[in-house]
């Protein structure tokens, strides 16, 4: 069995919505190596489409918690993806861990880590790790947890549930006739029509 379960961006979004977008959630997404910014861009786009709530990316580099704290408060209620932890030494992780209180905010914080930076984090930031708990998810390579046949199967399920074909759904979405349910957003993304969300 894989180390951590894999989740697509829209699944992360559904989790955040279930918890409450102002519930001070902390979670970790293990993305591909940081030299692949496209994966983060895709994740940002799909997450933003799923939760219909502002999402932004903050590049950490070697910023202190004081500086990041200010950025996290302006605004404080959106969902933030923190990235750029490749430069973090154990000492910087420990400094962040000590200053965990200054990072706390109503909006969700997603730490975008690689497998290597995840190990450094778990070794050196036990207080922040305590907030994350088991909310650590691998982003699958394709950005979706599903194979082609799984996608087809899922689309069939959605068509059956909503009693309409995918074409009918797209037509209604284009006219703005559909409610903003997570499953509708998921359906549109699976069909490659995230533009209609």
């Amino acid at each position: 069995m894989a180390e951590f379960i894999s989740q697509a961006a829209f699944e992360i979004g559904r989790r955040l919505e279930l918890r409450g977008l102002d519930a001070e959630s902390w979670l970790i997404v293990i993305g591909p190596a940081e030299r692949e910014p496209e994966a983060l861009d895709t994740f940002l786009l799909e997450l933003g489409a799923t939760i219909d709530h502002p999402v932004r990316v903050i590049q950490i580099e070697d910023q202190s918690t004081s500086k990041i704290s200010q950025t996290l408060r302006e605004p404080a209620a959106d969902t933030v993806i923190l990235t750029g932890f490749g430069v973090f030494t154990p000492a910087i992780w420990r400094e962040w861990d000590l200053g965990r209180s200054r990072l706390e905010r109503p909006g969700a914080i997603i730490l975008w880590l690689t497998s290597a930076t995840l190990s450094e984090f778990c070794a050196n930031a036990p207080n922040i790790r305590g907030f994350v708990g088991g909310s650590i998810f691998r982003l699958s390579q394709s950005g979706s947890a599903m194979t082609d046949s799984e996608i087809s199967e899922r689309i069939r399920e959605l068509e059956s549930h909503y009693q309409m074909s995918s074409d009918q759904m797209i037509e209604r979405a284009a006219k703005g006739e559909l409610s903003a349910e997570p499953q509708i957003a998921e359906w549109l993304i699976l069909l490659g029509r995230g533009d209609l969300i």
Partner: protein, 371 residues
């Protein structure tokens, strides 16, 4: 589900009635009563990450407001400033700023003569200079500089002015410092608190402070002996009635609406008695069922979330730590005073159930065996 939020601010969880007040045998009452009756006393509260220290400190604050004859200040000093430079004076600066603000907000200076007002305003100004720095001199709440004894003794006078005004209203001052437990080692903790706490004792300000768990063991013990009282929050399992205590924590948050008796039992066991893990596992199990579009939480969901938690504890362990964990599982041996032992305790890979009963976190133990 929203009541099962393991990272909700402790203050809002208390206000919403989600906390079980006598969870740790009313430690908060003991701390508050001592602080109320013994001005200048200094107590520390130690407990592992996620054990509920902040909740106990806030309950103590609440108790003092309701019952005590005190002017009480709760300060999460790690939210105010960066302590990573181990700078003495930061606690005094934080207290001074809070006192000044309290004076301004609550009009404590009402009824003062103009001379008294001038004196308190000047003291507040000097405190701000000490905290944030003057033109030429760096402050205590900026990137650290070596502490100056003269500097801290000077602060004594300015704080005394404000405290005298508080005493003028027949109140003693109690300060609760949260966040100091994140200094992790006894040496770092002592480097930050030593001089400041000496000043506070001379000023007859009662102190209750969160302190690192490591202070109970090895090189921490001499430091713990400085304090008038050391309160320890142990992990919930391992003491009589702990199973029903954990159930009551989940019941207070509505978990029985989501989970069967058997599932609650599995979650209680897998949490190891770590309060935050207990709440998180219940939330995560509900979340897993939702993601699975299941009508109810099933055994597979419980298994998944326990494994997720265990994997998060497994990550980042080095070979020495893994060896120590294996030895604890296989032979029951564990050197709590060693550097490795303290690391494993502080990071909750090992849980303390009593002074002699240490066990690997139950979510982690099966994964150690597999590795």
């Amino acid at each position: 589900m929203r009541n099962l939020n393991p990272t909700a601010p402790a203050r809002s969880a208390i206000d919403l009635g989600l906390t079980v007040r006598d969870l740790h045998g009313s430690i908060y009452q003991a701390m508050a009563a001592r602080a109320d009756l013994d001005p200048g006393s200094q107590q520390i509260l130690v407990g592992g990450i996620g054990s509920g220290k902040t909740t106990e400190l806030l309950l103590a604050e609440q108790w003092l407001k309701e019952h005590g004859q005190t002017f009480i200040l709760y300060i999460d000093i790690t939210a105010e400033t960066d302590l990573s430079g181990l700078n003495s004076g930061a606690l005094l600066a934080g207290l001074g700023l809070h006192l000044s603000r309290a004076f301004e907000e609550h009009g404590s200076a009402n009824g003062f003569s103009s001379q008294e007002r001038k004196t308190t305003d000047l003291a507040s100004e000097r405190i701000r200079d000490f905290a944030y720095g003057q033109h030429q001199t760096p402050g205590k709440l900026k990137p650290p500089f070596p502490p100056m004894r003269r500097d801290i003794d000077g602060m004594h006078q300015h704080l005394e002015v404000l405290l005298k005004a508080v005493r003028g209203q027949s109140l003693d001052t109690v300060v609760i410092f949260d966040g100091l437990d994140r200094l992790i080692t006894p040496e770092k903790f002592w480097a930050v608190v030593d001089q400041d706490f000496q000043v506070l004792r001379r000023l007859q300000v009662a102190v209750i402070a969160a302190a690192p768990l490591s202070i109970l063991y090895g090189s921490g013990r001499p430091i713990s002996e400085y304090f008038d009282r050391v309160h320890h929050i142990p992990t919930l399992q391992g003491k009589a009635g702990s199973a029903s205590t954990m159930r009551s924590v989940l019941a207070q948050r509505g978990a029985p609406d989501l989970l069967s008796e058997l599932e609650i039992e599995k979650i209680c066991e897998a949490s190891g008695g770590v309060l935050r893990d207990l709440i998180a596992l219940a939330r995560d199990a509900g979340e897993a069922a939702y993601m699975d579009e299941s009508d109810s939480i099933k055994s597979v969901h419980i298994k998944t979330v326990i494994k997720q938690l265990g994997e998060s504890y497994l990550r980042g362990l080095n070979t020495d730590q893994l060896k120590a964990l294996r030895a604890l599982i296989e032979t029951g041996t564990f050197d709590v005073s060693s550097r490795i032992g303290i690391e494993l305790l502080v990071t909750r890979r090992v849980l303390e159930y009593s002074a002699t009963d240490f066990r690997v976190h139950p979510a982690l133990a099966p994964l150690i065996a597999q590795n």
